[in-house]
């Protein structure tokens, strides 16, 4: 194990290929590895959503070659009901855990947090390396469930007990499939705990000279707050998964109640608590939503500031708002359980903090809008995606008003309204944050620029496409369209099928737009224009170092920080931006008074 010290250079530059690119201790390589994993996971997740959308629009359409994935799940290339649910569960799990958690947090955070704090590396590089490789193993354990006898689990990414805990009598994939799922998630939790440990310690202990906490850029704050949330949330999900696995393999009764009858057989379990799983899961699950979105808020603020050529109206207010979101996220998890048989008084108790959480969210949005006023906005792929994030966050946020109220939740719970809400606010918004970060930092990460024309085309198609997919979801929900149905056979749902067809077409088009991004990413990696050290005229530490950064981030000389992070358009300054490392004296800096 590595020596837990950081004052000396953490580790020398590796020479062998394996230590350089595979089992690397370098946070930058680990960040790129996380990014690659998230990209792979996102492509798989997107392909799954295509299959589901085609099935929902045209239920009898045979998708060529689908039987190769599972001959029993898709006989004649048409999805069976169970396989639809199995793909849906995998889509949700892959997207939430292996894309939305890894990309904005683990990938970008790993690459840029140490650089932005002025550190040579994370304090525990071996833990950092393990964090990635553990997550990697977790991913393949999950993917492996596609290839076991009954296929993956069909219980949904929330895996409500007792369906998830009774074993294969519950349906295809509920035996080994669930065990693999829970194992994968428990492994994933371990990986993220290692990661959070490093992130928190980096932020607290590894800052360079002059880098006070308030001098950290908003991205670093986003990652720091997220890692605190991750530390507490994943530490709760892991024991929940362990108990779930024990219910399967050891015959315990944590989640399975007495006298349950399936196929006319009384199950051998007794006394377990159905709601226990929901409490444990949502105690993790709601902070998880913010784990996905808070790094995006940081990235978007950072990108916007650089492209607006002015700082946010208030640096501190944004930080406090993000922290308030994090704290409140633990007090509101019960709003997922309004109609789940919980004490109706608790529903009201959970409802108020849920409504209160709109206040910090509104403040964040108002800070973005207010800062946009009077700016010198540059339009490029990165800033477009950041502005798109703001739009999506608003749209996804206002539907939260409805779901926060138990009385309206009676109508909208478990309908497409909820699906639309969380896809906009957590899925699309977080994805836009990832895209903004990618277009913004790609030059620093690879040394080459991305193609702007393709980037803008990618943006406008994704923006319109995402609204065409997810806005109609809300209407479907208002009409009472239940989620997690593989076909709509109910009399009142049949008239809604044309809407589903429209959504399917929109989803296919939007999906293809993402292939433009993949092409742009790969093409620019090898053929893009060479990037300068500071292509966007940014001020934070990642722009003070070489492109791409050397092994220990800053070469021979460690940076010294003289200013708050966002000194743009400072009156009387020599340029429209002053880097944090510039010793230039400023008469009236953009700082908190």
């Amino acid at each position: 194990m590595h020596d837990m010290s950081a004052h000396a250079v953490p580790h020398g530059a590796p020479t062998s290929f394996i230590r350089k690119h595979v089992f690397s201790l370098d946070h930058k390589v680990i960040g790129k590895q996380y990014y690659a994993l998230a990209l792979l996971a996102a492509l798989i997740g997107m392909a799954l959503s295509w299959i589901m959308r085609i099935h929902l629009g045209w239920g009898s359409f045979a998708i060529p070659g689908l039987h190769l994935l599972s001959s029993t799940g898709a006989p004649g290339n048409v999805l069976t009901p169970e396989y639809y649910l199995q793909l849906m569960t995998m889509h949700g799990t892959i997207m939430v855990f292996f894309v939305l958690t890894t990309a904005p947090f683990a990938a970008f955070g790993n690459f840029f947090l140490p650089i932005q704090t002025g550190a040579e590396d994370m304090p525990f590089p071996h833990f950092n390396m393990m964090s990635f490789w553990v997550t990697f193993v977790g991913f393949w354990v999950l993917i492996a469930s596609f290839f076991v006898a009954d296929g993956p689990t069909l219980g949904g990414w929330t895996q409500y007990a007792p369906l998830s805990a009774i074993g294969s009598v519950g349906g295809p994939g509920q035996g080994l499939g669930v065990v693999l799922w829970a194992t994968s998630i428990a492994i994933f939790c371990v990986g993220q705990l290692f990661g959070s440990l490093n992130f928190i310690t980096t932020t607290l202990d590894m800052r360079c000279k002059g880098m006070s906490l308030m001098r950290l850029p908003l991205t670093a704050w986003g990652w720091f707050i997220t890692s605190v949330m991750g530390l507490t949330a994943f530490a709760v999900l892991m024991p929940a998964c362990i108990l779930l696995i024990l219910d399967h393999v050891a015959g315990t009764s944590f989640f399975v109640a007495s006298n349950l009858v399936i196929n006319d057989q009384v199950l051998p379990h007794s006394g377990g608590s159905t709601l226990l799983w929901q409490h444990l899961f949502w105690f993790f699950g709601h902070p998880e939503v913010y784990i996905a979105i808070v790094p995006g808020m940081g990235i978007v603020s950072h990108v916007l500031i650089t492209n607006m050529r002015k700082p946010m109206l208030s640096h501190r207010v944004l930080i406090y708002s993000m922290a308030a979101l994090a704290v409140l996220s633990y007090m509101v998890y019960g709003h997922h359980m309004f109609v789940s048989g919980m004490n109706p008084i608790s529903s009201l108790v959970f409802s108020f903090p849920t409504l209160v959480i709109t206040i910090p969210s509104t403040i964040v949005v108002l800070m973005w809008l207010g800062s946009l006023y009077g700016s010198k906005l540059r339009i490029n792929s990165a800033s477009l995606f950041a502005l798109g994030f703001v739009s999506m966050f608003i749209s996804g946020g206002v539907s939260g008003f409805f779901l926060a109220q138990p009385s309206i939740d009676i109508m909208l719970h478990a309908t497409y309204f909820v699906v639309g809400h969380f896809h906009l606010v957590m899925g699309v918004a977080a994805m836009f944050g990832i895209f903004a970060g990618t277009y913004f930092w790609f030059p620093k990460m690879t040394g080459r620029m991305m193609n702007e024309t393709l980037g803008k085309a990618h943006f406008i198609l994704s923006f319109i496409g995402a609204y065409c997919i997810f806005m109609p979801f809300h209407y479907l929900g208002i009409a009472g369209n239940v989620r997690r149905y593989q076909a709509f056979t109910d009399d009142y749902l049949i008239p809604l099928i044309p809407v589903h067809k429209f959504i399917t077409v929109a989803a296919l088009v939007t999906g293809f737009a993402q292939l433009i991004f993949v092409y742009n990413l790969i093409h620019s990696r090898f053929k893009g224009a060479i990037a300068s050290d500071n292509p966007w005229q940014g001020t934070s530490l990642e722009w003070s170092t070489a492109t791409p950064p050397p092994h220990n981030n800053f070469g021979d000389k460690m940076p010294v920080v003289y200013h708050d992070p966002y000194q743009y358009s400072v009156e009387g300054a020599s340029a429209d931006f002053i880097m944090q490392t510039s010793p230039e004296k400023i008469n009236s800096p953009n700082e908190e008074k």
Binding site: M4, L204, L246, G271, H563
Partner: protein
């Protein structure tokens, strides 16, 4: 025993050895005008921050187990009272004793690093004793599991036993991590590359395991 202790040079020599190294402030004491000479660099070694972060995560995990136990107990009337194997109380004495021996060892190393050489006699011996007590504790826990199992009380016999096994095994697994840390500290001490922050972090972890065990014992005694 020819062990020497080596500590890299420190910036703030005025710190007392008994305080350990976790008492540093943050690096954010920066005047807004960028007046660097007034900046005090008090960042603690990452190991001492890291260990608190790690302990926070472990605390959350056991808090989740505890709340699961409370909720599950209230969910159904099938909760059984079980008599804890009496060896657990003996094990408790072992783990408390191991904390004491580790603390003695830590103080000796600290004293040595602080320059008070005559009190530094054989810190490694106390580390070995701690290690032995830790191994004995795990052996004792294993004995308790085997004993219960031989009486016919398995993991799935009743939910009380399920929680008993889950909590004690989870604690033992975490304790094994602590034993690994102790082995590492001993190895470093022999190679004269031990940092005080490493020893401090390991001993905090170890003490925490002791506190956690006492808490778990109390919880099991009260609830089961």
């Amino acid at each position: 025993m020819a062990t020497t202790v080596h500590e890299p040079p420190k910036h703030d020599l005025e710190r007392l050895p008994s305080q350990g190294s976790g008492n540093g402030g943050w690096r954010n004491l920066v005047p807004a005008d960028g007046d660097l000479p007034r900046v005090k660099d008090h960042a603690p070694p990452p190991a001492s921050t890291g260990i608190w972060v790690g302990l926070a995560a472990i605390t959350m995990t056991f808090a989740a187990f505890t709340s699961a136990l409370v909720v599950r107990q209230g969910a159904a009337p099938d909760w059984q009272h079980i008599t804890l194997p009496s060896i657990l109380y003996f094990n408790t004495l072992l783990i408390i004793a191991s904390s004491v021996t580790l603390e003695i060892s830590r103080r000796r190393v600290a004293a040595f690093m602080g320059g008070i050489k005559d009190r530094a006699a054989n810190p490694a011996r106390w580390l070995y004793i701690t290690l032995a007590l830790g191994v004995l504790f795990v052996a004792g826990q294993t004995f308790a599991w085997v004993q219960l199992k031989s009486q016919g009380f398995g993991l799935a016999t009743n939910v009380s036993y399920s929680f008993f096994y889950v909590l004690t095994v989870a604690h033992a697994l975490h304790l094994l991590g602590g034993l690994g840390g102790l082995v590492r500290v001993i190895a470093k001490l022999h190679n004269s590359v031990l940092r005080r922050s490493t020893l401090d972090a390991t001993s905090r972890y170890w003490h925490f395991m002791g506190v956690l065990w006492v808490y778990l014992l109390f919880l099991l005694w009260m609830k089961l």
